[in-house]
């Protein structure tokens, strides 16, 4: 994975000192909260329900054991001994003190980490496919380009005061494991006549008005990648709405002027930007790509795995995915124990995962947008040892992509924007469906919960989605069906009136019972829903 050179390190170090100075000025009263707020947001520091919350960037979800151990150390030293992995592949700490934040950032900088642009109206963390470099279906590892975008977007002087936040995802396979179409810009690396290029989808997003990004350009030659992105951003910065924060995302601009008009404005700007020479030379891409070369895999390793331990076999079948290299596998670590808090990990658990990565996965881990962790390169002969260690640390729940593998935002227990608690709902649902055999029988069922309309839990993209609302001061939960963030992207549809916190669990159960009643062989929940439509489910749910 990428390693900083002197320039990268100098930039991050300078940022820490800049932020230290900004904090000092705030504490001394030289700047007001109104003036300080955008500055601290651009450094990922929110004022939340309980304290300051810091969102640390994990660029394209990739980190090594040294960085993971630092995250555990931060949790112990500056927080309450745990961290929360997010739907954008970052980590959040909920109990940070402003007066300690600069020191925390200095410690992060010592392991090439930061919190730059994880909030604010700027370009956020570039997300990517958690199986990059390990999956057989990618045309190339997308992460060198994610790293190129990270550098280009960091302290971009023209795009630091955008109308609203800006999220970019980069993938390189037809299977979309990063919800690419639901980003402000989604990029898919493609081959055309043997030459690498990028397809650009612009104008996707969730939140109040979910939209699927339309295809704006099906092939941008890879050497024009950054110029084209710059053109997309400049059109947005100039013409995105500034009058209403709920209409300020690029999806609204693309929707209001139309994809064709947006495309033509971008083309005009691109023709101009191309003359400015902002694209780095191929040598820079090669320099970065060298860091993402495949690890030194052993050849001739066996693909056989001893399945005699039945618990191990269940986990193997559910959480372990094929690797492009013979004898290796991709391990998914579930951060969704039954009754636990989705995406949370204690400092001890984080250390366990760091150790496993170092010992068994060429020192690399990934964070997924489903709030789980991946060990991308595990030799099959080591799977049993890995599972035993995970099991001892309560990280071996064999529920990847099953109904208890819930994506949930922090909700009203943590977030000042929330209208309802989301975590207790996730816990109740997981407990209702705790039986592993029942879960496997239901099969792939992506359930996502958001505690407010900002949709950080991605509920619009859930096969089953739950949205918490405030109904006359009481928490109420709406149910949606039929969303998907994968390549079969779709926005979920609301079933009808909402439920209280027990009613929503019953409603989910009635929906899954109806699925089992109607399904045809090979159909997932979402497939059955798409075939039969909302009516049968609505009847079952509301009686």
């Amino acid at each position: 994975m990428y390693k900083y050179d002197n320039y990268d390190q100098a930039i991050v170090d300078a940022r820490v000192e800049e932020f230290r100075d900004q904090v000092k000025r705030r504490l001394a009263g030289e700047i007001t909260e109104d003036q300080f707020k955008p500055l601290r947001l651009m450094n990922g520091l929110y004022l939340q329900l309980h304290a300051y919350m810091l969102r640390v960037a994990i660029p394209y979800g990739t980190l090594d054991s040294r960085q993971m151990r630092m995250l555990a150390h931060i949790a112990r030293k500056y927080d309450r001994d745990y961290g929360h992995f997010t739907t954008r592949q970052n980590i959040q700490y909920n109990w940070i003190k402003l007066e300690e934040c600069a020191d925390l950032l200095a410690e992060l900088a010592s392991v090439e980490m930061h919190a730059i642009q994880t909030s604010g109206n700027c370009i956020r963390n570039i997300s990517s496919d958690q199986y990059a470099g390990a999956a057989a279906d990618e045309v190339a590892d997308p992460r060198p380009w994610a790293e190129l975008l990270r550098q280009w977007s960091t302290f971009h002087p023209e795009f630091s005061y955008l109308p609203r936040k800006f999220k970019i995802a980069v993938i390189a396979a037809d299977e979309d494991r990063a919800a690419m179409r639901l980003h402000d810009i989604g990029i898919q690396l493609v081959n055309r006549d043997g030459k690498l290029g990028a397809a650009f989808y612009v104008g996707g997003g969730m939140g109040r008005t979910p939209m699927i990004a339309p295809l704006i350009k099906d092939y941008v030659p890879i050497e024009d990648f950054l110029s084209y992105t710059e053109a997309c951003l400049r059109v947005y910065n100039r013409y995105g709405r500034r009058d209403n924060i709920y209409k300020a995302r690029i999806k609204i601009l693309v929707h209001e002027i139309g994809a064709d008009e947006y495309r033509s404005q971008v083309e005009e700007e691109f023709a101009h930007v191309k003359t400015l020479g902002i694209d780095p030379p191929a040598a820079e891409l090669e320099r970065i790509a060298a860091y993402f070369a495949p690890p030194p895999f052993e050849s001739g390793l066996s693909d056989d795995v001893d399945r005699s331990d039945p618990d191990f076999a269940v986990w193997l079948d559910q959480n372990v995915k094929p690797h492009k290299q013979a004898g290796y596998a991709i391990v998914n670590i579930s951060l969704k124990p039954i009754g636990g808090i989705p995406g949370d990990a204690s400092s001890a658990q984080i250390d366990v995962m760091a150790d496993l990565a170092e010992k068994y996965s060429f020192d690399e881990l990934r964070v997924t947008h489903a709030q789980n962790i991946v060990l991308p390169h595990v030799a099959k002969r080591d799977l049993y040892a890995v599972w035993q260690a995970l099991n001892a640390a309560e990280l071996a729940n064999a529920n990847l992509d099953l109904i208890s593998d819930i994506i949930a935002c922090p909700g009203l227990d943590y977030c000042s924007l929330a209208n309802a608690r989301s975590i207790p709902i996730a816990q109740k649902i997981a407990k209702r469906f705790a039986d592993p055999a029942r879960q496997r029988d239901l099969g792939e069922l992506k359930l996502k919960i958001s505690g407010c309309i900002n949709a950080c839990g991605h509920h619009h993209a859930g096969h089953i989605g739950i949205l918490g609302v405030d109904r006359k001061g009481v928490e109420n939960y709406q149910l949606t069906l039929g969303g998907s963030g994968a390549e079969d992207v779709s926005i979920g549809k609301i079933t009808g009136p909402g439920f209280d916190e027990d009613g929503i669990v019953d409603a989910v159960e009635r929906a899954t019972d109806k699925y089992k009643e109607l399904r045809e062989p090979g159909e997932r929940f979402v497939d059955t829903y798409r075939r039969v439509g909302m009516e049968p489910f609505k009847e079952a749910i509301y009686g």
Binding site: P157, S160, I278
Partner: protein, 137 residues
């Protein structure tokens, strides 16, 4: 990047509409929703383009500035309005060479802001060499 202090008898910048109606002004003021490219045919006649930042969160002026420099404008480019010291470095990179803040800025803070970062990642309208160029010569 210097702070501008209004001088006596200084010609006020005219609005874009007024400028396009009459051609002898040498100072123009662009609001956030004005199209900077409307000035491209007239750049060699302009000594000053003032770009308004009514609210520092409204970043349209950064694009306007870069567009003007990219089009070859060599006169004074001034950021006026809700300009805080934390935006000064970005403004300089986008081609501004003066600023006229509503609330006075501490000179030492301005100098600190301008010298904070030795390196930049991307090319913009200033002379700073992006890191990728330093890496590969």
């Amino acid at each position: 990047m210097v702070e501008h202090h209004a001088a006596e008898g200084e010609e006020p910048a005219v609005t874009l509409d007024a400028f396009l109606d009459q051609s002898n002004a040498t100072a123009v003021r662009l609001e956030p929703d004005d199209d900077a490219r409307a000035l491209i045919p007239y750049l060699d006649r302009l000594a000053l383009i003032e770009i308004a930042f009514p609210k520092f969160r409204d970043g349209r002026g950064y694009s306007s500035a870069r567009i003007l420099r990219e089009a070859g404008y060599t006169g004074e480019l001034r950021a006026q309005g809700d300009v805080l010291v934390d935006q000064i470095a970005f403004m300089k990179r986008c081609g501004f060479d003066s600023f006229s803040p509503e609330a006075p800025l501490n000179q030492a803070d301005v100098e600190a802001a301008l010298s904070r970062y030795d390196h930049v990642y991307q090319g913009a309208a200033d002379a700073a060499v992006p890191v990728w160029k330093l890496r590969h010569g």
